[in-house]
Amino acid sequence: MVVCRWFDQSNCESPMKKLLTEFILLAILFFGTWYGLSRIDWITLFKIDRASADLEQKIGDLLWKSLKTSEGEITSDSVLLPVNILLDHLCKKNPIDREKIKIHVLKNDEINAFALPDNHLVIYSGLLLACQNESEFCGVLSHELAHIQKGHVMNKLVKETGLSVLISMSTGNGNSTIVKKAIEQLSSTAYDRKFETEADLTAVDYMINAEMDPEALANFLYRLSDESLPEQLYWISTHPESKQRSVKIMEVIKGRTFQKIPVIGSLKWTALQNAIRQNSE
């Protein structure tokens, strides 16, 4: 083989051609290695999914236990039964695994609902009293279910708390201040605007699939944002630009007709609200 050197250019191929060949071979080597390695399922091999699921479960349990001790949980069947019927209906009509959703109703006057890691869905009694009908409640429920289904909860927690802090929490090294802060982040601050819009639009789809009126979610947002904001309106104050979101939902559903079939009906909804009042006393 002829070796081409700067001091001896005779009898050798063009240096540019040789350079180009070497470059192409180098590129093939790099991209070929990358392509070959990308065929391996590293996520399963390194058990990354399993590890992140374990972490989410530990964090979810930790946050829920902390929340449960600070707020009273409503366990009355007269409250949980209709709430579960509505949740079952939403899950059944949508690709949501009902078994994995852990719904909790807490005694709290704040109009709030939020999702915790590991599919915990927390509803405050104040929200159930503020909703005028089952459709409004299902609108909020669908929005939170969308956050769970789209993986927004852990994403937000990792971004705002940091993965190392979460891992430390999951191994039992997290102090109560960090746990409280994490709960506060999930219950009292909004997700990114992109996530909120995605959750709103997904909630509309969930409601349509469940033969419920998606306009109810828009109405709920508009009604509460229109009123002077008392301290209890957490779900609205933590979800800013409610009016714009309401308008956006109306734009999406404009001109479309939907089936509106009651799930528990207005009588049972009123009974549920009465049960909440009794349990909150």
Partner: protein, 143 residues
């Protein structure tokens, strides 16, 4: 990589300087791992300082610089991909892990090649790298 004698035997001082250009990138490699630009900057500073040096020194400074220039886009892509996984909605996937392994493998090969070249050049031997050597030949012309 080809290992051979240079056109003229370099003096002791020349061999030391030329070898230092590789050592510079080796030292910067350790410090510059999190920020790929550091490697390039270190080699660039050394290259600028030796631009007017002898042909042997200049040639090896240029080869060291090109080796870093070649690694920069690969390492930078890996760095920013990692950052986007940590701070944005980007998810970790097999593509990312495969890319990271490929880049690490290339960096290890480059690290070993740099060490070998530094030692060989210090002994006055001339080492030309695959592709980078040819590129250096095109840029650095004999006096």
């Amino acid at each position: 990589m080809t290992d051979e004698r240079f056109i003229n035997a370099p003096a002791e001082e020349e061999a030391e300087k030329a070898s230092n250009s590789y050592l510079m990138s080796l030292i910067a490699f350790v410090g510059g791992l999190p920020l790929p630009i550091i490697n390039l900057l270190a080699t660039l500073i050394f290259y600028t300082g030796n631009r007017k040096s002898t042909f042997f020194v200049k040639w090896h400074c240029t080869q060291a610089l090109f080796s870093q220039l070649m690694a920069l886009p690969l390492n930078s892509a890996c760095f920013w991909w990692t950052i986007s996984i940590i701070f944005t909605d980007e998810k970790i996937g097999s593509n990312y892990i495969a890319y990271a392994i490929t880049v690490i493998a290339f960096n290890i090969v480059e690290f070993i090649a740099t060490m070998h070249t530094a030692i060989a050049v210090r002994k006055g031997r001339h080492v030309e790298w695959w592709f980078v050597g040819g590129l250096t030949n095109l840029i650095v012309k004999a006096p």
